[in-house]
């Protein structure tokens, strides 16, 4: 089975925007891959003028929140590293021949999504010698304008990412496994992994191959 890979365009985000951005993208992907019966929920972003769709499965929401929290805590331990990646993978569980010290089942990944984030400092526009005394309203205005520009640009990038997701899911359908009958909610198992900062997507695939996860790149 082919493993389709989609590398989303990198998003430049500030620390406090990470949660909202990841929620938006992860839920959108899962909504298009949770092909069981769902009751969709519209979610209005708090930070952006965006509405995305959740599949309405509480377990999915809980897991996504946990993973985002884990991601945020990991990146806080590496403040100097800017680029980070979250990988959402869909797989099938297949039986393999039993062997010593190995499991009887294996995961066969058929689709991977790589979400690329570049974390910026929150005060990139502040000068080192800037203090509260002698506050310049003009400077505050320019920083507000910069923030506004950043927010607008990020919103446009997220929208672009969402359209990229929709385009991908529409064009690549042949590799999807069979939908289980009377499936409710999530139809395919998935996992969310946080790639280490030094590990790229290719490194991750290499690692998966070396550890025995059989994936076939298309």
């Amino acid at each position: 089975m082919n493993c389709e890979v989609c590398e989303l365009k990198e998003l430049v985000v500030e620390q406090f925007e990470i949660r909202e951005v990841l929620r938006c993208i992860l839920h959108t992907i899962i909504f298009h891959r949770a092909l069981g019966l769902v009751r969709p929920r519209d979610i209005n972003c708090e930070l952006f003028e965006l509405t995305y769709v959740q599949c309405g499965v509480p377990e999915v929401e809980k897991e996504i929140e946990e993973k985002i929290t884990e991601f945020i805590s990991k990146i806080s331990k590496h403040p100097n590293r800017r680029s980070h990646q979250v990988c959402l993978s869909f797989y099938e569980t297949k039986d393999k021949q039993p062997a010593w010290f190995s499991s009887k089942t294996e995961r066969v990944y058929w689709e991977r999504w790589f979400i690329n984030l570049q974390i910026t400092n929150q005060r990139v526009n502040m000068k080192p010698n800037q203090t509260k005394v002698g506050f310049d309203p003009g400077e505050k205005l320019s920083s507000l304008e910069e923030k506004k520009l950043h927010r607008t640009a990020l919103e446009a990038s997220i929208r672009e990412n969402l359209f990229q997701i929709i385009k991908f899911v529409n064009e690549k359908m042949d590799h999807l496994p069979h939908i289980p009958p009377n499936a409710e909610g999530i139809s395919y198992p998935y996992e969310i992994t946080i790639l280490s900062s030094s590990e790229s997507s290719l490194d991750m695939l290499k690692r998966m191959l070396q550890t025995g996860h059989q994936t076939t790149l298309s």
Binding site: R41, I43, T51, F163
Partner: protein, 572 residues
């Protein structure tokens, strides 16, 4: 029609259901109140919901008969135009902001789909078609939320204000081509087609990338009105029914509505029944909204929209019972089901507040915390009531004074009684207001405020002029003489005086000049009246406080003298 399992469906069924569901999704995401004032209740998914594994709820009444939608089968294209119609100016043309086209294009003669295939591969094709249709429908659902018109839809749904535009729709099997100039204003998004045995199921949308040119703003037709008889005012009966909506009071103001709404509310209809689709001049086309009466609009472009199909966008009764229709059966957090009630709160004028008694410890009155719909805008408890009240009983007693869901307003009345902070810090007599005479009131603005009774349980705590503690432990420290009785009588009279002051203020507010008279003199006179009222009230409080203080002093003096005389007597 639909089987519970995926098998047993034919291609034609799939395409037909797909078009129906796509239309449902589009209208539900673009037309406010398409289900009427009361959204369908959330329930277990039905057969209809199981199609494409996407539970959208009950379709609007206009879509109950899919045969009317696609009269000639699945090969006719489905064209859905979403229009932005000006409300105030009927001479202005409505503008198409989105055009959705879904059709099943017949396969080419050389296409492998053209020739009949074996039964086994038929089944495989049908399953594959169905799976891809599921994904396509999800994509349509997502794209609907990403296009600019979604913002307009949210504004029209979420606000109780009346805007100068409405979102309407037109469904037809024929797409009138745009002019070159119009075409240049649109962007195009095409979904990947799904191969079926009947052809390729293709969906596309043309949309305006920006709607700023339409100047969507709050309509000026609804004049601001001063609501003096709001539920919850001290003089009003707590059980009084909701007042009529401002728009209904305004008269026969016509506004956009769907005939569905009009018919559900029993509005008089001079045209065809609302639920029946009205066909436009061309076949297989019907519209929703002001253009529902096609003859009027097509033949008499200057004819104003009939009032029968127009319903005030803002209907207080509707908001009383249900939130506006929202696509998701479980609306998002903001957001929506309850927040729409709070949006008018934020848009109201600043509440009138009566300054508390002139204690230097009184904090600035804060506006109530509107974010939590469970707040009770009740006066703070009296010291005695606070001591005798435990948190568990607070809700039960305050419940009787809780306003109905539709009328939680940041009116000035709720601010007249100050904040519990004043109780905590000011230790003044702000807590001695009593709405109905019941001592068991609790004023809660935030969870931290519930701890007010805890503070008052402190035996060392004492109000400066807490004279109404007849049955509390503090009162036992005083001598049991007639002074206490008189103090109690004075306390009850002071309670009544406070109520009287509140009543005076409410009366002033009621008789104040309406805000519509926007002349400076009227405004200044009104503000003068308010200031005067506030001033008199504050002076009343000042005098009351001084008199209380004097009485207290006298009572202490008398107690002191009595004790001294007793001690002298013992010595002798």
């Amino acid at each position: 029609m639909a089987a519970h399992s995926d098998s047993g469906r034919t291609t034609e069924q799939i395409v037909s259901q797909f078009l129906s569901k796509a239309l449902h999704a589009i209208l539900a995401a673009r037309i406010p109140y398409i289900h009427g004032p009361t959204p369908p209740p959330s329930r277990h998914p039905r057969k209809r919901d199981r199609w494409f594994h996407l539970a959208l709820g009950d379709p609007p009444p206009a879509l109950e008969h899919p045969s009317g939608l696609i009269p000639n089968g699945v090969m006719e294209p489905l064209v859905v135009d979403i229009l932005l119609s000006p409300r105030d100016d009927p001479t202005m043309p409505e503008a198409i902001v989105e055009r959705w086209v879904a059709q099943c294009e017949a396969p080419a003669p050389w296409s492998p789909l053209h020739s009949p295939a074996e039964t086994s591969s038929n089944s495989f094709l049908v399953k594959r078609t169905y799976k891809k249709s599921i994904i396509l429908l999800r994509s349509i659902y997502s794209v609907l939320r990403l296009l600019p018109a979604q913002r307009v839809f949210k504004m029209l749904c979420a606000s109780n204000q009346s805007y100068n535009h409405d979102l309407t729709y037109r469904v037809s099997s024929f797409a009138e081509p745009f002019s070159r100039k119009e075409e240049a204003e649109f962007q195009y998004h095409c979904f990947a087609p799904v191969e079926t045995q009947s052809g390729q199921l293709a969906v596309s949308v043309q949309y305006r990338p920006s709607l700023s040119q339409f100047n969507l703003e709050i309509s000026s037709l609804l004049p601001p009105m001063l609501i003096t008889d709001y539920v919850g005012s001290p003089a009003a009966d707590p059980m009084r029914a909701f007042p009529s909506s401002p728009s209904e009071r305004a008269g026969t103001r016509s506004s956009t509505s769907f005939p569905l709404r009009g018919s559900q509310h029993g509005q008089p209809s001079t045209s065809a029944p609302a639920s029946a689709p009205v066909f436009f001049n061309r076949p297989h086309s019907w519209t929703g909204g002001p253009s529902e009466v096609p003859s009027n609009r097509a033949q008499h472009p200057n004819h104003p929209p009939t009032g029968s199909y127009r319903k005030p966008a803002f209907n207080f009764d509707e908001f009383k019972f249900s939130p506006p229709f929202y696509m998701s059966p479980t609306p998002s957090p903001p957001k929506f089901s309850g927040s729409y009630m709070q949006s008018p709160l934020r848009s109201e004028t600043a509440p009138v507040s009566i300054p508390q008694s002139g204690s230097s410890k009184v904090k600035v009155l804060r506006s109530p915390n509107l974010s939590d719909p469970t707040r009770n805008f009740l006066p703070p408890p009296s010291p005695r009531s606070a001591r005798t009240t435990d948190p568990s009983s607070q809700d039960s007693d305050s419940r009787s004074f809780r306003r109905p869901d539709g009328l939680r307003t940041s009116d000035g009345y709720s601010n007249m009684y100050g904040t519990p902070k004043g109780l905590k810090d000011g230790r003044d007599d702000s807590g001695r207001f009593s709405l109905s005479g019941s001592p068991r009131f609790t004023f809660s603005r935030s969870s931290s405020r519930i701890s007010v009774p805890d503070d008052l349980d402190d035996p060392d705590f004492s109000y400066p002029f807490a004279v109404d503690d007849v049955d509390s432990s503090d009162s036992q420290a005083r001598s049991n003489d007639g002074k206490e009785v008189s103090d109690f009588g004075h306390a009850s009279s002071s309670h009544k005086s406070q109520d009287a002051a509140v009543g005076v203020l409410v009366h002033m507010l009621r008789t104040a000049a309406p805000l519509r008279d926007s002349t400076y003199s009227s405004q200044s006179s009104k503000s003068e009246l308010q200031e005067e009222g506030l001033g008199s009230t504050s002076s009343f409080f000042m005098s009351r406080k001084a008199s209380d203080a004097l009485e207290e002093l006298q009572s202490y003096k008398s107690i002191k003298e009595m004790l001294l005389s007793q001690s002298k007597g013992k010595l002798h």
